[in-house]
């Protein structure tokens, strides 16, 4: 068996000469013996190979288009076995590469390893570094999520400011006049084809020249010479394993790479930041006022990069080498400082829940500048938390049996009442209405709190609790229901019939026994009327409380009159359960119909035109008709937005199983 193997190796060697190649590759002399300080270049090669391997497997599952990029990354991350690990390794190894590059670079400059005859190899190294940075930039966009989209948008916008050909460069990079399919296809071709191809070519030259000139040895007499194989190779492998362990550790710790909400060109993402290793450039831009921006974005970074290419020639003299080392540490120190400053600017508020009180407690609320910085940081953290929240929501729907439609995950975002409702409500309703759960404050809905409402609080609208409050003499005149400032329903208003009626029902002369009877009756009415809403949250209760509902309906239609002194019930004023018999509709003009009260269709029709005969008629003194016209162009709200608002108010959206 062994003989067969030997024969095979010999046969191959005669025909290929591979033994010589191997010997050449492995038996490099390491003067002074193998050392840990020589491992950094090798770890970079291993890191790159890791990116090639993980990248090719990611490629097998990735699809670059605006309707499939986020979607395919979602699938890799959440549906494919081990996908999160694959993507996580690719993501964190890219960051490790930046760190390793910095170490390798510092070491080369520190050791003066760029001196003749190694100038060209130093330049090849710089080219490789730029290629790696290019890979990072292009890779950031590929998931097509809010984070990558908006950060890259700033990058290409800056590219358009490049002197001379900026506009053309942006168009070529973006693949058109604005972001779209061809932005992704181009970024992907660069990321997975052009740049790795160039990297392999330059890496081959880099390694060839490295071998040609050998290691730069500080102290050849440190120990006996050793061979690359196996002595240095062992150290290199251990170091590479260490890097991989760190990367896998980070991946597991963070549960893989983040995927924020799908890119939405129309939804301002107020937390657009580049990847951490570009933060210093981001922060640097804040220093340049007005048109000086071009200095911060191009001229100074360009000159610094150009200066790096000159290092081998500057370093020919002792003082020049000293200058190079000082310059490099100045650059790294500056970058570290700017990075820290950027992170501090963004996170000084601490959390998205922080308030000015926290700032005062920390003794920082003394200057307007601090206040502004606090607000900016707070907005950043809030935008980030919201994006995280939105991402969780979209991912939850995508993972459900609903899946993602062919039009992409953005459709899920646009069609989800849970995500769209608050925005639409804020824009159209919150000027007058409040929306706040007094028992459970939700930070995300804090925007919707109206401190001076001029209309009822719509939280839980149509629920048993909400309707019971309207039938309660104390709550109905509260600010959450009919007692808001300027209400026509109370005091000297024009439409006090309802409040008067509820107060009559609970007149103070009532004996406690009778009072209790009326309270029970009102509870039954609340259950019956709330059943008209067909709220998803009460579906089970509506089924199990059939008996109470029937009793409540009977009370509404005259039963109540027998209990109270004034002999009235709901149907004396409101239309309810009269089938086709609407001949007497005039009688009810100005009081809302109770059939289907607060159901989806009832609410849609009501918001369309509250002054309709079925609703408040001429009594409507304040609420605009949002969609009264058949011609949609004339309406303030389109049908889709109307449906989303109503579904959101009614809590009618997909809810994943807990």
């Amino acid at each position: 068996m062994k003989k067969l193997a030997n024969n095979l190796v010999a046969w191959l060697d005669i025909r290929t000469g591979f033994r010589d190649v191997l010997r050449e590759a492995l038996y490099e002399r390491v003067p002074g013996g193998a050392r840990w300080r020589y491992v950094w270049g090798s770890t970079l090669v291993v890191a790159f190979v890791t990116q090639l391997i993980t990248g090719i497997f990611l490629w097998m599952a990735y699809s670059p288009s605006t309707q499939t990029a986020w979607e395919s990354v979602f699938f890799i991350q959440h549906e494919m076995e081990g996908g999160w690990l694959l993507r996580g390794i690719h993501h964190f190894m890219a960051q490790a590469m930046i760190v390793l590059l910095a170490i390798h670079f510092v070491q080369v400059v520190w050791d003066g390893a760029y001196r003749a005859p190694r100038e060209l190899n130093f330049i090849l190294g710089l080219v490789l570094m730029l290629i790696v940075l290019g890979l990072s930039l292009t890779g950031y966009l590929l998931p097509w999520d809010q984070k990558g989209y908006w950060a890259t948008n700033v990058g290409t916008e800056l590219a358009s400011q490049a002197p001379l050909a900026g506009g053309a460069i942006r168009k070529l990079v973006v693949g058109g006049t604005s972001y779209g399919h061809h932005t992704l296809t181009r970024f992907f071709a660069l990321h997975a084809g052009v740049l790795p191809g160039a990297l392999i070519a330059f890496l081959a030259l880099h390694l060839y020249l490295f071998r040609r000139h050998g290691l730069t040895v500080k102290d050849p007499k440190a120990g006996p010479d050793a061979m690359f194989w196996p002595d240095q190779m062992l150290k290199d492998s251990v170091a590479a394993l260490g890097v991989l362990a760190a990367v896998v550790g980070l991946t597991v710790y963070y549960g893989g790479a983040e995927l924020t909400a799908p890119a939405d060109p129309a939804n301002n993402y107020a937390a657009a930041r580049p990847e951490w290793y570009f933060l210093f450039l981001f922060q640097f831009l804040k220093w340049f006022k007005g048109e000086a921006e071009v200095w911060g974005a191009f001229i100074i970074p360009g000159m610094i990069t150009g200066g790096l290419f000159l290092m081998p020639w500057i370093g020919r003299y002792k003082v020049g080498h000293f200058f190079n080392v000082v310059f490099l540490f100045f650059l790294l120190g500056g970058a570290a400082f700017l990075t820290a400053q950027a992170i501090h600017d963004d996170t000084m508020a601490g959390t998205a829940e922080a308030t000015f009180e926290d700032l005062k407690r920390d003794g920082l609320a003394d200057t307007p500048k601090n206040m502004q910085a606090f607000v900016a940081s707070h907005d950043f953290l809030k935008a980030k938390a919201d994006a995280h929240h939105d991402a969780e929501r979209v991912i939850a729907i995508a993972k459900s049996e609903h899946g993602i439609p062919p039009t992409g995950a953005l459709t899920l975002v646009y069609n989800d009442p849970y995500l769209q409702g608050p925005q639409l409500f804020k824009k159209n309703c919150a000027v007058c209405h409040n929306f706040v759960d007094s028992e459970n404050l939700d930070r995300r809905l804090a925007d919707l709190v109206n401190k001076k409402p001029t209309a009822p609080n719509l939280y839980g609208v149509g629920s048993r609790r909400w309707i019971a409050a309207i039938l309660d003499p104390e709550q109905i005149v509260g600010p959450d229901y009919f007692g808001y400032p300027g209400s026509p329903f109370v005091g000297a208003g024009d439409s006090t019939d309802m409040v008067d009626f509820v107060e009559r029902c609970f007149s103070e002369e009532l004996k406690p026994v009778d009072r209790q009877k009326i309270e029970v009756a009102m509870q039954k009415i609340a259950v019956a009327l709330s059943a008209e809403a067909q709220l998803p949250s009460q579906r089970a209760a509506d089924v199990s409380d059939q008996q109470t509902i029937a009793e409540g309906r009977a009370l509404m239609q005259g039963g109540l009159a027998e209990l109270i002194e004034s002999g009235e019930s709901c149907t004396d004023c409101h239309m309810f359960d009269q089938g086709q018999d609407v001949g007497s509709a005039d009688l009810y003009d100005g009081t809302p119909i109770l059939d289907g009260y607060m159901s989806r269709q009832w609410l849609i029709d009501f918001i369309r035109n509250p002054a309709d005969q079925r609703f408040y008629g001429d009594n409507n003194d304040r609420m605009p008709a949002f969609a009264p016209h058949a011609d949609v162009r004339l309406n303030r709200l389109d049908d889709k937005s109307l449906g989303l608002i109503v579904d959101w108010l009614r809590g009618d959206w997909y809810q994943p199983d807990p």
């Binding site: 358009s160 506009g167 301002n268 657009a272 804040k286 006022k289 048109e291 921006e293 607000v375 011609d631």
Partner: protein, 200 residues
Amino acid sequence: MADCEQPADDSADDSAGDSERNRRSFFAILAGGLTLLAPLGAGICAFLSPLFRRVRSPMVRVALLSQVPADGKPHSFPVVTDWRDAWNHYPQKKIGAVYLIRQPGGELPIAFTAKCPHAGCAIGYSAADEKFKCPCHTSVFNIDGSRARGDQEVAPRGMDALEVTLNSLEPEVEGGDPVTEILVKFIDYQTGHIQKKPIA
């Protein structure tokens, strides 16, 4: 081995042989070059195609006049229009956002694009201190779009105002009040310059 395959002795060549060889070298390079250039040229041609695309700046209906209260405050509206992205046509796609401001007593609103003139981030409005703020590089603008700190601002110019026109629509019901819609010319402006220049 290699020695045996040396071509015939160079010194024996006359000048005619030299020119013959030069000609062959020339055609070898020409043929090889052309073979490579044709696919490369076609590729570069296709690659450059975005340069021939022009930005469309559509007049877009963004709101009804009745939706913008005359309170002198900015109100944000999405820009929704038919949109083409390479091979896809999107009917009524949200492509951006504008702020509309109507002065008390005034009719015609002014419109600002939400795109920051510094680096293109989307500007937000902070009602607390009545300022527009860009979340990226700290640009702040007054409610009239001018830069809050003048030349100390990183943004090279104030927010970009967009052309606004009003259009009266007749309601389908006879005798109904006419409805006015607000149209905005949604232009994408270059960032980073003092002058306001549309992206071509």
